[in-house]
Each structure stands twice: as structure tokens, then as C-alpha cells.
């Protein structure tokens, strides 16, 4: 056992990093690539019941400290996605990210992929979804609880719930998700939404006009969310938002995250980012004399 190994909801991970949902991850090939590059687990891009083309381009634009995107949950639908899940090389745990508009949809998709993945992550937090999906759910504590409860009744594998930071009190939502049976909380989804306007033409650049902000700029907000929820909720937290190096990972662990996800910074660093972060983390722990990642979790609360 290396010092980076962790256990999350009974799932053994060789290190505390995951590929975040929505960055690559729509094919087995790209998920396997993240695993080959060092990720301790991989999360798929979110998928729903039917194929969805998402929004027209431009769907992404860079801003200071990150990216705003309104991809619009494009995905080939659960039936096609099952073919991809079957091709995962199983070298690391796989987590399926699901979206839907109501408890029945979530539960149906969950049931159909339960046998192919190690855990589920419910996307109730996409800030640019339509038709009552995404943050329309995650901003409503009761609806969130209803969906989590429904999925928990339908499957036996662990269920993570990905929360939106775009609420007045994220602790309230976290408590409702926990009470409904969530096994872990992933936080945070992209921030905002935000906009970027072209100054030559006066046009909003994104076709959808607004999109979720991700990347290093949102990290302080994510750290605060993790910190607040850690104090009130007793299930593991998966930290995500703007991680670019091992120092960022340490901040998340100190705030109370048990492990982390990495997404947007792949734009800056490529897939090598996992290896770089793991080397930095192991070197830091070695120098400071830490024997396991668990020892780092929640340090900021002591």
C-alpha cells in the first residue's frame, strides 16, 4: 500500500484524484487515457436517457482564471453510453455521472448502468441545463432529496451527489442530500453562470449567452464550500474546482475533502497533470512525514 491510497465509500483508490465529470470522459477511450495518466478514478461526462446534441457553438470561451462553458449536456444517451462503459479497462474505479429531469429518469438510468460502474454521481448542478435538469434541481433542497432518495432505492452501489455553489446556503442542500441517503458529496459544479461579451460586435460570445465558470478562478469558492459542509455533514466530500497543482489538492484536503477531481486544468497541462500532481503530493507528504492521505483531511478545522 502506498501512502496515496485511499478508500472512498468502500471503494479502494490508488490515489485521491479523479477525472472530473464533463472534461473529456464521453468515451471509454478518453476515460482509459485518464486512468493510464494516473487518475485514481474516472468520472464519465454526464449522460441522460436519450442522445442530446447540446448547444450550438461557441460552447466554450476562455476568461481570466478559467473557462465559461455551455456545452449543454451533450451525450449519446444511456444506451450508447453503456457500450462505452463496457469498454472501460477497469484499471481504476469508474463513476457514471447522470442527469435527468425527475426522480424517475434518474432512477431508470441508474438502474441501467449499475452493473457497469463502481459508483454514481448525480449531476443536479449543471448551471446551463434546460428542461428542469441540472441546477434547477440542485437549488431546491426538497427536489434534490427526492431524487437522491429515489436513486438510492433503485441501486446498491454508492451514490455521490454533485452540488452547485450557486445557492444561498450550500449546507442546507448538503444536509438534505445526506438525509436522503447520499454516500458522498462532490463539490462544486461550475460557478455562476457567467458571461463574456465581444467588444467589437457587442455580442455575447457563447451561443447560450451564459455558461458555468470553471478553472482556477473558482477554487476559493470551492474551498469555502467544502470547508462549510465538512463542519456540518458527516459523509465524505469529493473536492473539485480549479485544481491545477498538488498545492491546490492539499488545500482541498485541509478544508475537508477526502479526495479531489481535476478537470479544466487539463486545458493548461494536458493529461500529464495527474502524474505531476501525484508526484508533488507524494513528495510533500514524504517531506512532512505524513503516512496517509486521511491524515491531511480536515486539518484546517483543527
Amino acid at each position: 500500500m502506498t501512502i496515496l491510497e485511499i478508500k472512498l465509500c468502500g471503494i479502494k483508490m490508488r490515489n485521491p484524484t479523479m477525472l472530473a465529470a464533463g472534461i473529456l470522459g464521453s468515451t471509454a477511450s478518453s476515460l482509459n487515457w485518464a486512468a493510464r495518466s494516473g487518475a485514481g478514478a474516472v468520472v464519465t461526462k454526464s449522460f441522460g436517457l436519450s442522445p442530446n446534441k447540446g448547444y450550438a457553438n461557441p460552447t466554450t470561451v476562455e476568461v481570466t482564471g478559467g473557462v465559461i462553458n455551455a456545452i449543454g449536456l451533450s451525450n449519446p444517451g444511456v444506451d450508447n453510453f453503456k457500450d462505452e462503459l463496457l469498454k472501460l479497462n477497469k484499471s481504476v474505479p469508474a463513476i457514471a455521472s447522470l442527469y435527468g429531469a425527475n426522480p424517475e429518469e434518474f432512477s431508470e438510468i441508474a438502474t441501467r448502468v449499475e452493473g457497469l460502474v463502481d459508483a454514481l454521481e448525480l449531476n443536479v448542478s449543471c448551471p446551463h441545463a434546460i428542461g428542469g435538469c441540472g441546477s434547477a434541481i440542485g437549488q431546491d433542497p426538497l427536489l434534490t432529496a427526492e431524487i437522491v432518495g429515489s436513486v438510492k432505492k433503485s441501486v446498491k452501489i454508492p451514490v455521490f451527489v454533485k452540488l452547485t455553489p450557486n445557492v444561498t446556503d450550500i449546507v442546507e442542500i448538503a444536509l438534505h442530500a445526506r438525509d436522503a441517503g447520499a454516500d458522498a458529496l462532490t463539490m462544486i459544479n461550475s460557478l455562476g453562470p457567467g458571461m463574456r461579451i465581444d467588444i467589437e460586435t457587442g455580442k455575447p460570445i457563447l451561443k447560450n449567452k451564459f455558461g458555468g465558470l470553471s478553472g482556477p478562478a473558482i477554487k476559493p469558492v470551492a474551498i469555502r464550500c467544502v470547508y462549510d459542509v465538512f463542519d456540518s455533514v458527516d459523509i465524505p466530500i469529493i473536492g473539485v474546482g480549479g485544481i491545477r497543482d498538488h498545492e491546490d489538492v492539499l488545500e482541498f484536503l485541509y478544508a475537508g475533502a477526502s479526495c479531489v477531481q481535476i478537470g479544466t486544468s487539463i486545458m493548461y497541462e494536458g493529461m500529464d497533470i495527474f502524474g505531476k500532481i501525484l508526484n508533488g503530493l507524494e513528495r510533500f507528504m514524504d517531506e512532512k512525514g505524513y503516512g496517509s492521505v486521511d491524515e491531511l483531511v480536515g486539518i484546517a478545522h483543527k
Binding site: 468515451t27 477511450s29 478518453s30 457553438n57 470561451v61 449519446p76
Partner: protein, 265 residues
């Protein structure tokens, strides 16, 4: 920054009944033939190969074939109209060898003409196979001849040059001449056949792949290819044959905007 830069169309060249080249003032830095730009017409944004790079006049050109809604809208623009460009993106063609065969089919000639101009400029002996459906659709003949590359043409209907496919003419060229390297861009079915030929002739080769793209910056995963997961927008669009051998979907299928697979035929 991955943000569209608004540029005015400087001039437009009608290359064929279906293809126009749009020229822009652009500070040329490291643009390489085979790289692409994300082109925003204030409604939609699509990846387009750079078809002309002029580091002396600081101009670049994008050639667009009118095949659908977006390309139709761009074709209606006139000089002075604005487009947003971001890029250049991806890995372009590597210029290597002293004698090179460049094979382009249809609008795939766009990066091929940019390559032949750049390679000729630095002293490479370039032979260009230009393939089109019919004579009127043969692209960039004048530019290829002006670059002192040798032009070989073929058309599906025999209206100009050899009657046959680009692969027929390329095979003939490879049998008659010794090439150090091959580059190609065109319909995937053509490139797949050419790939098999260059393997037989044991000539190193590079191919430019096309996949549905959204972000162009390596995040959305829309253009990832099986089985290694490489992003065509970052690791590609140009791949060497040894890399293509690991792209198992090459010549077989591609994914659409939702990620559903469609076979290539």
C-alpha cells in the same frame, strides 16, 4: 487566450462553384500548415483548416466549401464583413524529407496547398496530387504551379487529368518516383486507402483527420478518437502512420455532435 478575435474579411477568392477562400490580415507567428482555426460567424463556430499562410504580408486564408447552414452563411459574406477567429489549433504537418508527395481530395486540398507552398519555399521538391469530383472543383492549381510544386490532377469523371481517384494517381506517382514522405488530407475513405498504400511502399506519412469539434481547446472530449482517447483538436489533427495504427476508428466510424457513432462509407 481561447477567445475569438474579430477580423474583417480582406478579400474573397472564388476557387470553384462551391469553394471560397477568405483572406484576413493576421499577425503570422507560428501558424503551421495542417493547423486549424475556430471560425465564428456570430451565430455558430466551426473548425476550418488554414489554407494560406503568408508571413511576409501577414495574411492568412481559410477555404470553405458550401455544404450546409454555417458554410452557406459564411459564403454570403463580402469583404469588410466580420468574422471571429481563434487559433491556430492543433498539430500541423511536420515538413521532412527532400522529396514529398502531398495528396489532397476535395476541400482536403486546403491544408495541402498551404503545405506545398511552405515546403517548396524552404526547398523541398513537392509533388501534389489534387483530386476532385470534376474539373470545375479542382482547387488551387495556380497557387501550386506558382509555388513550383509539380501538380498532378485527377477527377472522378475524367474531365481533367487522370480519370480516377486520388489514390489511383498517388499509387502511380509512388511507383514512378521515390518519395521521402507523404502528406494527405481528404475524405477518410481516400486516406484509409492511401494509408494502406504507404504502408506497402514503406514511406513515412502524415494524415489530417476530421472529427466533430466543439471547444477546440482540449476540454469537451467531442473529438476524442478510439482507442487511445487522443483529442483531434490537440494531439491531432495531423497524425503519423504509426500513430494512426493506434487510432482504431480511422476509416471505420466517427461520432456526431451528441457522440453517437456513424460508420464511414
Amino acid at each position: 487566450m481561447h477567445v475569438p478575435k474579430i477580423v474583417k474579411i480582406k478579400r474573397i477568392i472564388e476557387e470553384s462553384p462551391t469553394v471560397k477562400t477568405f483572406i484576413f490580415d493576421w499577425e503570422v507567428k507560428n501558424e503551421i500548415p495542417g493547423q486549424f482555426m475556430m471560425v465564428w460567424n456570430l451565430h455558430d463556430e466551426k473548425p476550418m483548416s488554414i489554407s494560406m499562410i503568408d508571413p511576409l504580408k501577414n495574411e492568412i486564408g481559410i477555404s470553405i466549401k458550401n455544404i450546409g447552414e454555417f458554410t452557406g452563411q459564411v459564403h454570403e459574406l463580402t469583404p469588410g464583413d466580420k468574422l471571429g477567429l481563434r487559433g491556430p489549433y492543433g498539430r500541423g504537418f511536420h515538413i521532412a524529407g527532400s522529396k514529398v508527395l502531398a495528396v489532397g481530395g476535395g476541400i482536403g486540398m486546403a491544408p495541402i496547398v498551404a503545405f506545398s507552398e511552405e515546403a517548396s519555399r524552404i526547398g523541398v521538391d513537392v509533388h501534389v496530387v489534387s483530386a476532385a469530383s470534376t474539373m470545375n472543383e479542382l482547387l488551387f492549381d495556380d497557387r501550386i504551379q506558382r509555388s513550383r510544386s509539380k501538380l498532378l490532377t485527377c477527377t472522378d469523371d475524367g474531365s481533367h487529368g487522370l480519370c480516377g481517384f486520388g489514390t489511383d494517381l498517388a499509387e502511380k506517382a509512388m511507383s514512378e518516383d521515390d518519395y521521402d514522405m507523404i502528406v494527405s488530407c481528404g475524405p477518410e475513405i481516400m486516406m484509409k486507402k492511401l494509408f494502406e498504400m504507404v504502408e506497402k511502399f514503406k514511406i513515412p506519412a502524415q494524415f489530417s483527420l476530421e472529427r466533430y469539434m466543439k471547444c477546440g481547446m482540449g476540454l469537451c472530449g467531442q473529438c476524442c478518437v478510439d482507442d487511445l482517447g487522443w483529442r483531434v483538436c490537440v494531439e491531432g489533427p495531423v497524425f503519423w502512420t504509426d500513430e494512426l495504427k493506434m487510432i482504431t476508428e480511422f476509416g471505420k466510424y466517427k461520432r456526431d455532435s451528441s457522440g453517437v457513432k456513424h460508420s464511414i462509407s
